[in-house]
């Protein structure tokens, strides 16, 4: 079968340069009118250990890194052993026979071994052993018939800041690998058309950072923690020259409290972390909410509990985010499902935070934060909504009337002044307070008027959730409405689900899918309407206890019929969803409802 897409996997030890080789190929594809999805699997070590990078590219939108691969570049024997069976028929394993042992008997049917003297060829150009990656990549490019000129451009840009010699060495080494492969093994038949259109290729974290910049963020704080760190690094690199203060702090408690201080002062402020750091931020979430201070908090989830699996994708912080901090306050949680949406939702998070004067959580995860994906439309001049922020010159408020920062209003939102505005001095207190900010928690506590104030302020704050719900985009079902099975997922699991749906469809099985991106306040009515006619609901999520499944049940009363939960530390593979769906359809004895030209099930 001539595929219309290609997948390359390159594996070796940490420090082997796997990452940068993978990125060069990803960019070569994204500059050739192909859609790309790439993911780097790695361990929490700097040298040694096993890492692999997978790049998938095709003429249509690519939703996940995929299961099977067309080319494996094995830089060590471990890679050959671990990944040989991932090869598709027609695929090949590229390796240096002097360095890597390959058990050819384990090659899947139709896959081949391509021994190439990578080290020997590389030595002609450089003493640096990493050059053998480039030789191998050249060989893979030959098999894929990928455009060498584009590769040369990418390498030139990638190493542009270094010596011209380095660029030349890489190009020559790749050419030599290309030529060797062409002579000995020829080209594969993928029928892929490489064009000239370039698409932005970025990770979820770059999208979050870019979204923050486009939204007018002026303060970002963080403490290094995988997989959120690269948001801060992106902003540290690009932000200060545009007036953005980027602050690495002593701990995550300082991180969020500084961001809250900046938000109070009137700039658009955000911070980012992973679950462990977010746990430390919990108390301050409520502090931001009771002081009605806008702040955006990114929590990029990774494998837990505790230090858990620091470099593993997992979606297991949902109760932590829903329960962060003591007491009741309006909790707003967005969960972007792909890189494009990471960008869009980061912008939206800043608008929601200021409009509703409240903290907003953007829930990412390691897979979304760290994988590369091409995007089509990045509106770098989005609408910026600042809500009830008063004009800085103080003209928004009559000088005679006392300024009431926490004025009770139908929407729950009160006019917001910031320090520097004359006649608007007020104290933002973490204690319960009156409309003007005075405490009702000490000498007035339990006096009749304080009871009224407490109720009014609590209700005012919580009312915001109704407004937030109104601002959320409505959910939809993807796929045929009358499908016999509905997959429900949230966040980055969307990719594997979409992939599985296409796969199932090609085998004549129709399913539909609800992919939750507005996690809280929960869209109870809409989700209930969408799911009430579902014949079988399958929840797919990356945690042990079924966190979204429980939330769905809590908010709608809907009980899922079955679930696929993964907590192994790997991404959810489309194949696993396909198999799960097939087993359900088989066990329930139901044939797919939707008529399909390709016939029924196997």
């Amino acid at each position: 079968m001539a595929t219309k897409e290609i997948t390359l996997r390159i594996g070796g030890a940490a420090g082997d340069g796997v990452n940068s080789t993978g990125e060069i190929f990803a960019k070569t594809c994204s500059r050739s009118d192909l859609h790309v999805y790439a993911f780097n699997a790695y361990q929490s070590v700097i040298r040694g250990g096993h890492v692999w990078y997978q790049i998938r590219a095709g003429p249509e939108k690519v939703h996940s890194v995929g299961d099977k691969v067309d080319v494996v570049i094995a830089l060590n024997t471990q890679t050959a052993d671990l990944h040989i069976e991932a090869l598709r028929a027609g695929g090949c394993l590229i390796y240096d026979p002097k360095k890597v042992k390959v058990d050819e008997a384990r090659l899947p049917e139709g896959a081949k071994a391509f021994p190439i003297p990578l080290g020997e060829i590389a030595a002609q150009f450089s003493k640096n052993p990493i050059i053998q990656n480039t030789v191998a990549l050249g060989a893979a490019m030959c098999w894929f018939d990928a455009p060498f000129d584009t590769f040369t451009e990418v390498v030139t840009d990638q190493f542009g800041h270094k010596k011209a010699e380095i660029i030349e060495t890489n190009v020559k080494a790749a050419q030599a690998g290309y030529d060797y492969a062409k002579e000995h093994y020829g080209k594969g038949s993928y029928g892929l058309r490489y064009g000239n259109k370039r698409r932005p290729l970025l990770t979820g974290n770059q999208a979050l950072g870019l979204g923050a910049m486009a939204a007018g963020c002026r303060f970002y704080s963080f403490y290094p923690m995988t997989p959120a760190t690269s948001i801060g690094q992106f902003l540290a690199e690009n932000g200060p020259q545009k007036g953005i203060v980027v602050k690495q702090c002593e701990d995550e408690i300082a991180v969020i409290n500084m961001a809250i201080g900046a938000g109070y002062a009137g700039v658009r402020a955000a911070c980012g972390t992973s679950g462990g750091g977010f746990a430390l931020m919990a108390e301050a979430m409520g502090f931001a909410a009771i002081t009605e201070t806008p702040v955006v908090v990114v929590n990029s989830q990774r494998g837990g509990p505790s230090t858990g699996l620091p470099t593993a994708p997992e979606q297991a912080d949902l109760p932590l985010m829903l329960g962060a901090g003591q007491g009741d306050y309006p909790r707003i949680i967005l969960s972007p499902r792909n890189v494009q949406e990471a960008y869009d939702m980061m912008v939206e998070a800043f608008n929601l935070a200021e409009k509703w004067q409240n903290p907003v959580i953007v829930a990412s995860d390691l897979l979304l934060s760290e994988h590369l994906e091409t995007v089509d439309t990045l509106d770098l001049h989005p609408t910026i909504e600042r809500g009830a922020l008063l004009p800085f010159n103080g003209n928004g408020h009559s000088p005679e009337a006392p300024y009431l920062r926490y004025k009770v209003t139908p929407s729950g939102v009160s006019p917001r002044a910031v320090p520097g505005m004359a006649r608007h001095e007020y104290i933002a207190g973490s204690d319960e307070h009156d409309e003007d900010g005075t405490l009702v928690s000490d000498v007035r506590y339990l006096l009749p008027d304080a009871i009224e104030v407490r109720n009014a302020q609590m209700e005012k704050r919580m009312r915001k959730l109704d407004g937030v719900l109104g601002d959320f985009e409505k959910p939809t079902l993807v796929g045929p409405a009358n499908a016999p099975l509905t997959i429900v997922s949230w966040g980055s699991t969307q990719g594997a689900v979409r992939e599985a749906m296409a796969w199932l469809k090609s085998e004549g099985i129709d399913v539909n899918s609800l992919e939750i991106n507005y996690v809280y306040p929960f869209q109870t009515k809409e989700v209930t309407d969408l799911l009430k006619t579902s014949k079988h609901i399958l929840m797919v999520e990356a945690n042990y206890t079924g966190q979204m499944e429980k939330l769905l049940r809590q908010e709608t009363g809907i009980v899922c019929h079955s679930h696929l939960r993964k907590y192994s530390g790997e991404v959810i593979w489309p194949k696993e969803i396909v198999e799960k769906v097939k087993s359900i359809v088989k066990n329930t004895g139901k044939t797919p409802a939707a008529p399909t030209p390709k016939g029924g099930m196997h």
Binding site: A214, V245, V255, N257, A265, P419, S430
Partner: protein, 298 residues
């Protein structure tokens, strides 16, 4: 142009809200001294942000006219720094108690000082947890009996002045609520100082600390300026910082231990301010900025 700005008086800093402190509490003198320092410096109330944590003394922002945040326990300094970083034009004063700043907030204390960020930190140190009715604090002297150490505290107290000197604060002083005139002077100079100022203030708790009373401090009080201490001499400052509570000498040195104007402040080196105050200016990316960002990702 040059219309004469209206004179700012002490009453401009007053509010109707009455302090909730016990009669005789040292914090009253601190409040008055802050108000006096600000009016002496002619800083308008709306250009001041007073940020506190949690504790008796952390209620202070509610008792004067200014912007402010009554934040979480131990978090006055991060919030204060966030405000200052977002709007470097503001005068930011962090206030709180010894538990707040030297206990739960100790980590932030050290880091704020090494940044030499331009804020003033006033700690109302009473060597006790007052709001929780009398437990040992990080500055409680060894041997002191409290509700949480009924047999006497067996830990050594932290030395805030010594810590501040080591961590890189550029204005380090100890004041006393029983000497309000000097206190206002120390605050005024601390607020005017560019860089991180710490004024550790002995502010007696008349209800729960029967050891470190007004009389206790009056009996041991020495003013280091009167004694001829040179506050530009770092080594001399360190020597004097060790006299109390580390060595528990018969005398407790008060006054300005150290000030330097030679060290650069955080905002002098923050690249983002070259564009201007982050609070002002257009939020949208310019066309060129958008273009170059997008190209860098292609």
């Amino acid at each position: 142009m040059a219309a004469t700005a209206p004179q700012i008086s002490l009453t401009d800093y007053k509010v109707d809200t009455k302090p909730t402190w016990c009669p005789g509490c040292g914090d009253y003198a601190v409040l008055t001294a802050i108000q006096k320092a600000l009016s002496d410096l002619q800083i308008p109330p709306h250009q001041v942000a007073v940020v506190s944590g949690i504790g008796c003394s952390s209620n202070l922002p509610h008792f004067l006219r200014a912007f402010g945040v009554h934040s979480l326990h131990g978090r006055a300094l991060p919030v204060a720094q966030g405000i200052k970083l977002a709007n470097p034009d503001l005068h930011v004063i962090a206030v709180g108690g010894d538990g707040d700043g030297y206990g739960i907030g100790q980590g932030h204390f050290i880091h704020a000082m090494r940044r030499n960020i331009d804020i003033t930190y006033i700690v109302m140190n009473n060597e006790i947890y007052g709001l929780t009715t009398g437990q040992t604090s990080p500055t409680s002297l060894k041997g002191m009996a409290t509700k949480s150490t009924p047999n006497g505290n067996i830990e050594n107290p932290v030395n805030p002045v010594g810590l501040a000197l080591m961590a890189g604060a550029t204005y380090v002083a100890r004041g006393f609520s029983g000497d309000p005139k000097n206190l206002a002077e120390l605050y005024k100079n601390g607020i005017a100082h560019k860089g991180f100022s710490l004024i550790d203030t002995q502010s007696p708790c008349v209800t729960y600390n029967k050891l470190n009373t007004y009389d206790y401090f009056r009996g041991k009080y020495v003013n280091i300026q009167t004694e001829g201490h040179d506050h530009s001499n770092f080594e001399a400052a360190v020597r004097r910082s060790l006299e109390w509570p580390t060595l528990l000498s018969e005398k407790i040195p008060f006054g300005l231990f150290y000030e330097t104007k030679d060290k650069r402040t955080y905002d002098e080196d923050e690249l983002a301010y070259k564009v201007g105050n982050p609070l002002h200016g257009d939020l949208a990316l310019t066309k060129d900025e958008a273009k170059s960002l997008l190209e860098s990702l292609m």
